[in-house]
């Protein structure tokens, strides 16, 4: 469903994404992990057609996002990490607007809007301007907007940020059901417990390259990690084990401000 071929992105002389190739089949929940600045968000934004790759291409359901963007993007629901929404639209208006961008309108959209707002407990707020929404409510609204047109695949950047535990659990259930019905989810996350519990396969990115790819069990075997958790694997692969002495970072008792 999602296919990346030699995907590369340069910002001047800086290489953000370095020749990534990946094939994510239908019905898979795929996790993209990596330390800050590894190139996860850049990769996701190239898949969504927001950034143009320097080299390589992205295929969504067989259509190149740059060459044939309309059918490719019609299959996609994108959830960014920062929830920028039109402040002067109401929640319901925003969802109707997004549906229209996908060429959908009428009673079916109205029913879908009601359904999604209900699921994410935003019904009470549907006629209020988005400027009054909290960060978590905006995030829920954006997730609803990504589902409004019934996409075939969802690309999501840090899905749990800002969500309360109930909404986070709901989102996990939605993604699992979406995948069970043949949809594809590609998500980037820092929450390794979430990735370990939810993802069928994961890729670990560092310095713009994939340093490991497969199921969590595959990774354990490949790196002879025994029963290591994904967190331990991640730290081993990304060189993050050199954690500074906590006492040094937090300061001794005598150093604290009075």
């Amino acid at each position: 469903m999602i296919r990346l071929e030699n995907l590369t992105k340069h910002y001047g002389s800086f290489v953000a994404v370095d020749d990534i190739s990946l094939d994510i089949p239908q019905g898979v929940l795929y996790g993209c992990l990596g330390p800050n600045g590894a190139g996860k968000t850049t990769t996701l934004r190239m898949i969504a057609g927001i950034l143009r790759p320097t080299n390589g291409r992205v295929l969504l359901g067989g259509d190149d996002v740059q060459v044939n963007p309309i059918p490719a993007k019609a299959r996609l629901g994108f959830i960014p990490d920062r929830p920028f929404v039109y402040d002067k639209l109401t929640g319901a208006e925003f969802l109707r607007f997004v549906a229209a961008l996908y060429g959908q309108e009428g009673d079916a959209v109205e029913r879908r809007v009601t359904e999604l707002l209900d699921v994410f407990e935003l019904t009470h707020w549907k006629d209020e301007l988005v400027e009054a929404y909290s960060h978590g409510m905006r995030q829920k609204l954006i997730i609803s907007s990504a589902l409004i047109h019934r996409p075939q695949c969802i690309v999501v950047d840090e899905p749990m940020v800002g969500l309360d535990p109930k909404a986070a659990r709901l989102l996990k259930d939605i993604f699992r059901q979406f995948v069970a019905r043949g949809g594809t989810v590609l998500m980037s996350t820092h929450t390794l417990e979430v990735a370990e519990a939810m993802c069928d396969r994961v890729a670990i990115l560092q310095h713009g390259r994939i340093v490991a790819e497969g199921t969590v069990n595959d990774l354990r075997q490949q790196h002879r990690a025994g029963d290591a958790s994904l967190e331990e694997l991640f730290l081993k692969l990304t060189g993050g084990a050199q954690v500074r002495d906590l006492v040094e970072v937090l300061g001794a008792d005598g150093d604290r401000a009075a």
């Binding site: 208006e93 607007f97 060429g103 959908q104 006629d127 400027e131």
Partner: protein, 562 residues
Amino acid sequence: MTQPSLWRVLEPKWRTALQRMREERSRGSARLFILVVAALLFWGGIFAFLYKILKALEQVPDVGPLLAGKILGVALLTFVGILVLSNVITSLSSFFLAKDLDLLVSAPVDWLRLYSAKLGETLLHSSWMVALMAVPVFAAYGVVFRGGPLFVPYAILTVAPLLVLPAVAGSALTLTLVNVFPARRTRDLLSIVALGTAGGLILLFRLIRPERLASPEGFRNLLEFIAVLRTPTSPYLPSEWAAQAVMGYLRGRVDVLPLALLWSTAGAFVVLGASLHRRLFAPGFTKAQEAAERFVRGTLWRRTVGALLYFLPVAKREFVIKDVKLFFRDTTQWSQLILLAVLVVVYLFNIKTLPLHRGEAVGFFYITLVSFLNLGLAGFVLAAIAARFIFPAVSLEGRHMWLLRSSPLDLGALLWSKYWVGTIPLLGLALLLTGVTNMLLEVRPFMMVLGLVAIVCLTFAIAALALSFGALFPQFETENAAQIPTSFGGLVYMMASVALLAVVIFGLWQGVFQYVRSIYLGQPVVVDAWMIGWFAATAALCAVVTATALRAGLRRMERLEF
């Protein structure tokens, strides 16, 4: 605990400013050159205009310097008025809505340091433009009245407290308002009040027809005229103290009192402002966190605009409805229409009061000439309006581009929607300005038709230029739409529009001149190939500019990354 210095509190601000300057410099010298030339032209224009007036006044014994002082007083009063309004609005952002406030308020920074830092920031942001405008004004006074090099520090000494006073007064007013209304509602309220006041003042100023007061014939005798000139507008106005201080110095009679009044009042204001801040800032800042609760049903636009555009594909239709809703729900946007309406009334009033149809019949030549010049003026007004309302259209979408670019929306449809949402109201205004002025001028049908067709062609081209330059020079980080046209891109757009206007006026004049000459000589008007050729070439130029600009804008949008 040692408090951080004021310099340290303001560090993020000045470091950002320095970085911006570095970025500007790295963008090449052509950009800097254009900015410098534009600034020099602007300064030179103001200086030359004032120099001419002051030089003429200098020749008139007794009355001349008095009148020059009066003009300075009025100019400074205008500056102070603008500054108070500007400080009220700026202080709302810097004291209550700025992004650095959470950090500063949660840090152990004392109230006086916070007040001083934010007052300084407010003063700088709202006063720099007025301070720059004051440079050629004071330069003209200094040169004409031979102030000498010492006049420069003296003028700075006089102007400085004049900038502090409105900053303190404006921020104190905002502080009080925020304690009564939520900050976001206060911003809406202030936008309407500020623009309503500005509009009202412009209207009032124009309707009392100040040009009649300029002639001493309006006064019963010369002594009364001089007596009025000698009387200060109000002995309590700081602008009047500043004018007295400057004119006293320039006429060789240095009076310390006005300067002392200015500085002591400014000092007292800062002390009073600080104590008010100590009392009211904490409750005001808490209130500022409250959102203006607004439930909206939003069926009006769907039923009107939506029904009108039913023939369009759903994406285009919803895009237009969305843009219209965003405009009319944002008070800082629609409230500018008040000012626009006032300016249109003043514009038409000016045409109506032209002494063309009084007494004996005025030559047909002059009416045609005024009608023709009006075309150029209307074009310029439309270009300025497009700069304010159409130029920022692409920039305002910046933060939402993740949605537009990841959806299957064709960017052409986006540009199409933006173009028509901006062009149709502009077209209405263009036809109103040209049609009504031509009716007031009682022009012949030939000029009426020519004027209307020309302004329609120009409107299409000007709107396309505004949208395209907005895409070529986007300001995605600026949230305030009113600040976007004041960028470098806005300047380049205005230059391009004025150049187009000049070429169009030149082209049309070739045909119109033949028409005027025929009528003037009593010959029948012959619409020949020459006339048609020029008119057609002008229309073709507008069409080419429209198409090329829109294509360039689209290409740029396709390449933009977010």
